[in-house]
Symmetry: C2
Subunit: 221 residues, 2 copies
Amino acid sequence: MTSVEEPERPGGRVRDAARTKAEILDVATQEFARAGYDGARVDEIAARTRTTKRMIYYYFGGKEQLFTAVLERAYGVIREAEQELEVDHLDPVAAIRRLAELTFDHHERHPDFIRLVSIENIHGAEHIAASEKLGRIGSPALEVIRRILTAGQESGLFTADVDAVDLHAMISSFCFFRVANRHTFGALFGRDLVDPAQREHYRTMLGDMVIAYLTAERAAG
Amino acid sequence: MTSVEEPERPGGRVRDAARTKAEILDVATQEFARAGYDGARVDEIAARTRTTKRMIYYYFGGKEQLFTAVLERAYGVIREAEQELEVDHLDPVAAIRRLAELTFDHHERHPDFIRLVSIENIHGAEHIAASEKLGRIGSPALEVIRRILTAGQESGLFTADVDAVDLHAMISSFCFFRVANRHTFGALFGRDLVDPAQREHYRTMLGDMVIAYLTAERAAG
DNA sequence: GCGCTAATGTACGAACCAGTACGTTAGCTA
DNA sequence: TAGCTAACGTACTGGTTCGTACATTAGCGC
């Protein structure tokens, strides 16, 4: 919003492939998250862009590939966030709590991403399967969890012998459900799981749950 | 499949409003769960029914109302299952574990229901909001949780002071995630959360988690 | 400053799909 | 068994939506 009449094209150049592509991806992310894959309209995405529908097909090939590109970028964002995890200086209990809270925060801050994942699951993860990039994206968080778990188990602090993938599932499930099922849960039980006033409450609850699970005294079995 | 050439109309009657409606609901449930709301095709539902598209509009009014009817029936099924909960004879710890396991089992047995709930959340729970029936459906499980929690907290077995709705959310999140996100999780982490061979593993994990949370020694604060 | 190509805009088509107008019949009732 | 109505079928339509053929121009290299 620097100029008065022409806030468009802030970069100066009229033709800019990179910016056009990025803008399409931004709008497409919103539109797919808003309405689901089949509910999303290519014309609507184009209309909310500085460019035209023609460009969507020029750069991405089609609706299907556009959705795949949207997913690739969304997963890229979470991978980057995970790479900034700095918990190695903490003791295992504090480290796991911190990791859980960061996962919690990321879900809270990216509801569109959660919706995209829900949508992709409705479609059997076929776009992930079709994407070379997503096949080998991995998860930095998983490596961090592995290290903390090993440390905690060796020191005897953690009694549970879960592996990193299952613990990641446990943490994610709580964070994901809270955002993804917010609407049906709210409608049926009259409680908004994403109410800002309850944010700390649920964040603490998640941490307590994970720590309790990892440090509980297990019956011999 | 009792007769050879005419396995149709097993009830005998050619015209049967109740059966036609039920059949439409059955097929519609599958189709909506398969493709999402906008991906589902009314023509496809009709084609897989003994009747025609005309009847869908005759009985339900439209695609939107049909989906609402599908949701109403699906939620009705889970409510009925919850009404058969019999855990009052157990001690609080065993009762909670049993409840968690029944929730786990119901999610496992009704993947279509899980998909419908995901779809409804993509659309902001607008069909639940539009349904009178679903507004006052409640949840028998919630009452059971309330009773167990009170007993456990009064006896000092449970240290956590969660309320029933939050505990229900915690249990549901794990069960829901495992089924709903099966595809993306499998594609990204190479682990099938619904692998039958791992069923007991995750069922136990859920119970351990909930019990650990409820019985953990909390730091004063 | 000239030409070449990546980048972009316009206008249209063909298929699809929710919903309906109109016509027919099964089966209950009296 | 006649008549009435709920239940059902056929065929169509109007709008929508993904995708594309064709025309145009910006901006870089030389």
